[in-house]
């Protein structure tokens, strides 16, 4: 491993810096969502559309994918090729299940008449959750790449930093969803400004 003045690998430092910038990106998206909440003039409105039970299931799926990710890293670090392949694939698959849930929800909303520019709710909802979904998509592709490396026997303990950095990204995507699930879905009944 290269020596650094901080003792922290450069890749890990960069990922944390990137995550910091992502905090501000999603912070501004969430702030905009909150600013416009309850101010749509025309429907359909969030209380008519949001399916809490369905999204709770997808939320649980994403949480479990974080568990799979951390078990994958553990497997790579201890040089367990079978565990590495299994948990990396499970993480990616659970991510895909989450994305399928998002696609289903977006489709349902569109069928109910909620186009992207329909009202303030549609604009802020699709932008915020859409950005999150894009991040999940990138994460799934990244994980499948790592899984392919593991399948070829190219992901030993000496390469665990690659998995750790991917894990940081994946867990952050999960953390963002923890916030979005609470703010957009569970607080939908709370009165806005």
């Amino acid at each position: 491993m290269e020596r650094t003045s901080t003792g922290v690998p450069n890749e890990k430092m960069l990922m944390w810096a990137f995550i910091g910038s992502e905090c501000m990106l999603f912070g501004s998206l969430i702030a905009t969502y909150l600013a416009y909440r309850g101010r749509s003039i025309v429907g359909p409105y969030e209380e008519e559309l949001l399916n809490i039970p369905f999204i709770t299931v997808t939320t649980f799926v994403l949480l479990m994918s974080s568990l799979m990710m951390v078990l994958a890293l553990s497997a790579v670090q201890r040089g367990d090729p079978r565990g590495s392949k299994l948990f990396l694939l499970l993480t990616a698959l659970l991510g895909l299940v989450f994305l399928a849930g998002q696609v289903f929800e977006f489709n349902h909303f569109a069928h109910e008449g909620l186009g992207l520019g329909r009202n303030l709710f549609s604009g802020t909802f699709f932008l915020t959750t859409g950005f999150h979904g894009a991040h999940v998509t990138v994460g799934v592709i990244w994980l499948l790449t790592l899984w392919a490396m593991a399948m070829r026997g190219r992901l030993g303990p000496e390469k665990s930093l690659k998995v750790e950095v991917a894990g940081l990204y994946w867990h952050f995507v999960d953390v963002v969803w923890i916030v979005l699930f609470t703010v957009i879905y569970l607080m939908s009944g709370a009165s806005g400004a």
Binding site: M1, V8, T59, S66, L168, I178, L186
Partner: protein, 115 residues
């Protein structure tokens, strides 16, 4: 940093990993990760339960904030390993997070949430 034996570390829920060359880092055991995932599931279930209890409607927002903050801390602290990492990484994360929270609070104030 003193190395712990694998058995003692596992019993204590901590292991050390030679993940970065000769640099040893403590981290939680697989059992701890699974326990944390179960806690996260329970917290999520609690959040949804609170949402459906009409009597808790007046305090829904504070309860949800506390529960989601707990989930946030668990994922960031354990899954993202920040509990065991250097203060430099904590600064890289919590600094921008504080700015993001400030932006959210400022926008909420601007749009009359606290009136």
């Amino acid at each position: 940093m003193a190395s712990e034996t694998a058995h003692g570390a596992e019993a204590g829920g901590l292991e050390t990993a030679m993940s970065h060359g000769s640099h040893e880092e403590p981290h939680a055991s697989s059992r701890t990760y699974i326990a944390i995932a179960l806690v996260l599931g329970v917290l999520t279930a609690l959040e949804v339960m609170v949402f459906y209890v009409e009597a808790l409607a007046p305090v829904l927002v504070p309860i949800l904030l506390v529960l989601s903050a707990a989930k946030f801390v668990l994922v960031v602290g354990f899954f993202m390993h920040l509990k065991y990492d250097t203060h430099i990484l904590r600064g890289l994360f919590f600094g921008p997070l504080a700015i993001a929270v400030a932006i959210i609070v400022a926008m909420m104030a601007l749009y009359g949430y606290f009136l």
